[in-house]
């Protein structure tokens, strides 16, 4: 039998995944695990989900042929325009799904962690839409470097609570959210923002995001007469935008997968977030996966200029793509990413999120053929990062 790169019944991708959780989370995780597939396959759920994606999020997002970029690199470059989603990134595909799920589970209070703030905004947005209370945990460092998104969450009525432990970034915000859930196990649903955490989160989030890849298949068929690009390319923080794009292609090895990680100041500098290259197998936030850690098993404080990639772990799906070599992993420094942010702005009139910029830098790392079809996930827009760009380039 052919091996699959998707999750198995036990919640594992190869060696990775599972649910390494404190007992205090067990009832919630078990409730989710036992119900998510049924709920998600309900007709009514499907139609509500698809309707909101269409009418509220603005899906399908275009698959845009980047003419100037393609010419410059002498290959065919398509951008999947998740930056056009309501709230400005792919994150909302997942929060729409999870809020509908939370309602069916009878939850009246939502918590979330956020790094770049995109997931926080996406969560605050769906909570406003449904009239549900929302608390977002965000590292203190991220609160200051992603100020516009903090403002947006407040406008949307969410409470933003600073995580002040550790590196004060995404990992610590996640710890805080988990602690909140442990303290509020009855009325609260925790909307995780990426394909991380204990099973069934990685699979659930990947399914909600898979709309990205599903649309690409249809759109590419129309535009190029084939459903299959040569490459699907995405940045990887936790891995949700990548998972969403890769999903329908996971087991089709004719479509090559490239995961782009944040090298920060360089993978040898100790200031990096290139999880797959620097990480070892271990457990973070309830999942067995690759993570950056000391020999002693203490989780390393990661670094990236981009708040959404500043995470020491990676989703178990991606850990497996790395180990099995199904995916090629490339790491991109702050400098390379920032310059690509400017390049894409000037070449295509699209200011990408710094997370997203990392993906495009692959074009300078790897030679592609003239007939190759590259689909990049343009995971988010750069509005939240303007201060960082402006400071960096002294514009």
């Amino acid at each position: 039998m052919k091996i699959s790169f998707n999750v198995n019944k036990m919640g594992y991708y190869g060696d990775f995944g599972g649910a390494y959780i404190p007992e205090m989370m067990y009832s919630n995780i078990e409730e989710l695990r036992s119900k998510y597939l049924d709920i998600c396959s309900e007709k009514k759920f499907q139609s509500e989900f698809n309707e909101l994606l269409k009418q509220y999020v603005g899906r399908p997002t275009p698959l845009y042929f980047a003419e100037r970029l393609s010419k410059k690199y002498n290959t065919k470059i398509y951008l999947k325009r998740e930056d056009l989603c309501h709230t400005g990134a792919h994150k909302i595909n997942n929060t729409i799904g999870q809020i509908l799920l939370a309602k069916r589970l009878g939850k009246s209070r939502i918590i979330a962690e956020t790094g770049a703030g995109q997931h926080g905004v996406a969560t605050a947005t769906v909570c406003a839409l449904m009239g549900i209370k929302c608390i977002v945990y965000m590292g203190e460092v991220d609160i200051s470097r992603q100020a516009p998104n903090v403002a947006r969450m407040k406008m949307l009525g969410a409470e933003v609570k600073p995580a002040i432990s550790g590196s004060k970034t995404l990992k610590d915000a996640t710890n805080e959210a988990i602690r909140d859930w442990i303290n509020n196990p009855v009325d609260t649903h925790y909307i995780i923002g990426s394909v991380v955490g204990p099973h069934p989160y990685p699979d659930m989030v990947a399914r909600f995001q898979s709309v990205i890849g599903d649309e690409v298949k249809k759109q590419l068929k129309e535009l190029e007469g084939t459903k299959k690009p040569s490459y699907v390319i995405a940045c990887v923080g936790g891995g949700s935008n990548a998972a969403g794009l890769f999903y329908p292609y996971l087991d089709d090895e004719k479509v090559k997968i490239i995961c782009v990680e944040a090298a920060g100041k360089g993978i040898d500098t100790g200031m990096s977030a290139a999880t797959s290259i620097l990480g070892k197998e271990g457990i973070i936030h309830g999942a067995k996966t690759l993570l950056m850690q000391s020999t002693d098993g203490q989780i390393t404080e990661p670094y990236s200029i981009s708040a959404g990639l500043d995470y020491p772990g990676v989703g178990p799906m991606h850990a497996n793509l790395f180990r099995t070599k199904r995916g090629e992993f490339i790491s991109i420094t702050d400098k390379e990413a920032m310059e690509w942010g400017l390049s894409l702005s000037r070449l295509e009139g699209i200011i990408p999120a710094i997370e997203t910029s990392h993906a495009f830098a692959v074009l300078d790392k790897k030679k592609f053929k003239k007939d190759d079809i590259l689909v990049f996930n343009c995971s988010g827009r750069g509005d939240k990062d303007l201060d960082t760009y402006i400071d960096y380039f002294k514009l």
């Binding site: 404190p22 007992e23 009832s27 988990i178 602690r179 509020n184 196990p185 850690q293 002693d296």
Partner: protein, 254 residues
Amino acid sequence: MNRINKVLETKKNILSIYFTAGYPNLDDTEKIINELSKSDVDMIEIGLPFSDPLADGPTIQKSSTIALKNGMNTENLFVQLKNIRNKTNIPLIIMGYFNPILQFGVEKFCKSCNDVGIDGMIIPDLPVDIYEKKYKPLFDKHGLLNMFLITPQTSDKRIKFIDKVSNGFIYMVSSFSITGAVNSFGFEQKNYFKRINKMNLKSKLLIGFGISNSSTFKDAIENSNGAIIGSAFINFLKENKIEDIGKFVQLIRG
């Protein structure tokens, strides 16, 4: 017979005290264990500090951060505990998150525990299911008990499963709260204690989380075989000398 089981069988109103190894100072481990052994304490939980202790409240988090900064690590802990059994016969439990144990090597970890005379483990993020399927034989081989938690949300069915797998005590989380010490237990918590007691489990029950003074300790032992104190003891260590631990224990015992 394992020292933990001996205490569980012979004692009532058990008091178990948690501290974070390497806190307040790197080399306090032995001193604290000795002082606790001299006092009216029945078991000791030695916290192996972790960078991301997601089931702990701020007090224990902070002590872990300081302990790690002080240089505490797994290797080091076993060095510090090397001769501990020359000094005390009190049951010693290591409480630690799974990742550092996994990196050390689970088998090597169990063996090291056995070497220095550790009696059991509490690993909050190693669920009973995974333990049972994968790690139990190793623990058994090295004579280590593994203690599991239950909470007000744990179903009766799952409690029975945990009871079956358990060979030490069951750690009964007092409430939903990991925010640390509270002043007294409420109606809901007491109901929960009663419910569990009615289940007639084979395992003994110790109540933890939120025990901070003689009144909450009294509440706890009325409903169980004993109680575990963590945050309140860490707070005590922050402000007092190790030599005064006996007084803290007296205050709790009331």
